[in-house]
């Protein structure tokens, strides 16, 4: 099963874990992104995330479908947050559940790596004296 969502409300790891509860599952790998206080030597105050929501959900769904097909996993959750996030808040949660741990890890890493490449979501970093869209310029 895949569970995809984009929300401007705080993400909840316990909820994501409950979505993959299943007695055939023996290993659950997760990735939780958090807003950290530094980026390329500058002090970060907050991050804003903006999504092209319809397309982002579609691309997240493609990642989940591909992961379910390519790796021996039973369930995958991809939840992304939008809006303004403070330090320590969670922009993204990935959960991959499988009978065995190796495919769970592989699917989880594949999902976060691909999400960062293909899903139309943008991140603006706010520093003490300015802001910029991350990765926009070479």
């Amino acid at each position: 099963m895949k569970h995809i969502s984009i929300s401007n409300q705080p993400l909840d790891l316990s909820h994501c874990m409950s979505l993959v509860e299943d007695h055939t599952v023996g290993g659950i790998a997760t990735f939780v992104g958090t807003v950290r206080n530094h980026s390329q030597g500058q002090t970060v105050i907050r991050l804003d995330f903006e999504a092209y929501e319809k397309m982002a959900l579609s691309e997240m769904g493609k990642i989940a479908d591909f992961a379910l097909e390519k790796f021996e996993i039973e369930h995958i959750v991809i939840h992304h947050r939008t809006g303004s996030l403070s330090l320590g808040e969670i922009p993204v949660i990935i959960v991959a559940a499988a009978a065995h741990r190796k495919p769970a890890f592989e699917a989880c890493q594949f999902a976060i790596d691909t999400l960062k490449e293909t899903v139309p979501i943008w991140k603006k970093e706010f520093f003490e004296n300015g802001s910029h869209w991350v990765s926009a310029h070479p």
Binding site: G33, F49, E50, A51, Y52, K54, M55, A56, S58, H80, P91, V92, I112, L115, K116, E117, T118, V119, P120, I121, W122, K123, K124, W133, V134, S135, A136, H137, P138
Partner: protein, 78 residues
């Protein structure tokens, strides 16, 4: 043609929806060239992709009247 813009593309256009006059259909490549002429800031981006009806499309793709077109500057989720 209505074109949705996100992230830095929205800042460059100073709007999240650009109305562009076109003579009938236009390819993704033609659209990119037109935008980079009108808004040279786009030339400085690491990349600029075009999505049509929520799918990335290559340069040769023909955009039709009524398609949902969006400018996708470098993404950075997660």
């Amino acid at each position: 043609m209505e074109i949705f813009a996100f992230g830095i593309a929205k800042d460059i256009l100073k709007t999240n929806k650009l109305i562009l006059e076109t003579d009938g259909n236009i390819s993704v490549k033609e659209l990119k060239i037109k935008l980079m002429e009108m808004f040279p800031e786009f030339q400085k981006l690491a990349s600029l992709k075009i999505a049509v009806n929520n799918e990335y499309q290559e340069d040769g793709f023909e955009i039709k009247i009524g398609d949902e077109v969006a400018l996708i500057p470098p993404v950075c989720g997660g």
